[in-house]
């Protein structure tokens, strides 16, 4: 009973802290931080995969200044600022693949893989449970085999070294 109360208290603290922290309005984003956030999403067009944020190439400096102007002008979302740069410099400055056409595969494949992996895990556990139910004998055999091997090894089964 006391433990259950303790868990409830943990839950309460966690949810409360998350709610306070996540909903807290950090104020409007500092323009400097916004420029950084945007320039992290744009590739330097001439320096092999570095972002504009990282790169010190003159081209990146120019793009940073374009981002700065876009942010200072106000009224533009991050995506719009990036779209303007991509219009001038070409789509190869986009570090995030778009969600259309072939590029969408970059997003779809990981999600598919995650779903397949989860489903595989779930079905494996179901199968194992069924197998254990159907042939309890075999599993016990294994248990004995494992026990014997472990006894042979060290005569102690608790999960220590090796």
């Amino acid at each position: 009973m006391r433990r259950r109360l303790s868990w409830l208290a943990v839950l309460f603290v966690t949810v409360g802290a998350l709610a306070v922290g996540a909903s807290r309005d950090g104020g409007p984003l500092d323009p400097g931080d916004r420029i950084d956030a945007i320039s992290r999403r744009i590739a330097c067009p001439v320096c092999d995969g570095e972002s504009v944020y990282e790169s010190r190439n003159p081209a990146s400096e120019a793009i940073r200044s374009a981002v700065r102007e876009g942010v200072r002008a106000g009224g533009l979302t991050d995506d719009e600022v990036i779209a303007e740069v991509a219009d001038a410099y070409g789509a190869q400055v986009l570090l995030l693949p778009r969600a259309t056409g072939l590029d969408a595969l970059a997003w779809a494949l990981p999600v598919t893989a995650a779903v397949v992996a989860l489903a595989g895990l779930a079905s494996a556990f179901r199968r194992w449970r069924e197998a254990a139910v159907q042939s309890g004998e075999a599993t016990d055999d294994d248990r004995r085999l494992v026990e014997r091997l472990r006894a042979e090894r060290d005569g102690d089964g608790s999960g220590g070294s090796r």
Binding site: V46, P58, E61, A62, I63, S65, V85, A88, G90, R127
Partner: protein
């Protein structure tokens, strides 16, 4: 059933590996960048820069003539190499009178004195525009100099060349465009 799953997993891994191999074999490490741009056949951006004497250069006010913009820095070796070609091109166009194209150098992020010294030493008396606010660079999306753009008398972008150009190439391209207009 489990053997089936294992076989499925193995064949999946094999297919993935083979696909990866195909991609790796076929990928070409040196696929060059193309000179395509979304600005082609679109109005040139109305951007401004600063001329040597401190006055403002407005691209939109150059309508009526063919304009060639050459993006340049004094330290870039290909720019230095192509400079004599630009000098030849400028002289040639000057010979055409009012029909000739105007050449402008757009200086990217460079020291003013170094640029002036370069022009004094290597010739060339066309207008030099300092793009200190990166307006030309960002509007045209010029990542690396040298780059040369051709704008027609209506203010429409007609061509872009990434890398070095020759006088002959510029002249014939503009001649062809003129005839097509």
């Amino acid at each position: 059933m489990r053997a089936g799953a294992a076989r499925l997993g193995a064949s999946l891994a094999a297919v993935l590996a083979v696909g990866l191999l195909i991609v790796l074999v076929r990928a070409d490490p040196d696929a060059g960048s193309t000179a395509q741009t979304t600005l082609l056949d679109q109005p040139a951006p109305a951007v401004t820069g600063t001329l040597e004497d401190g006055s403002t250069f407005e691209l939109s006010r150059r309508r009526g003539s063919w304009v060639v913009l050459n993006f340049f820095t004094s330290t870039c070796v290909p720019c230095q190499r192509e400079h004599p070609e630009l000098v030849a091109f400028d002289q040639e166009q000057a010979g055409l009178g009012s029909l000739g194209a105007e050449l402008h150098t757009i200086v990217q992020h460079d020291d003013r004195e170094a640029v002036e010294r370069f022009f004094a030493e290597n010739g060339g008396d066309w207008p030099v525009v300092f793009d200190d606010e990166f307006r030309f660079q960002n509007a045209f999306g010029v990542a690396q100099v040298p780059e040369t753009w051709i704008v027609d008398p209506t203010g429409t972008v007609r061509g872009r060349v990434i890398g070095e150009v020759t006088a002959e190439f510029l002249s014939t391209t503009i001649q062809r465009l003129r005839e097509a207009l």
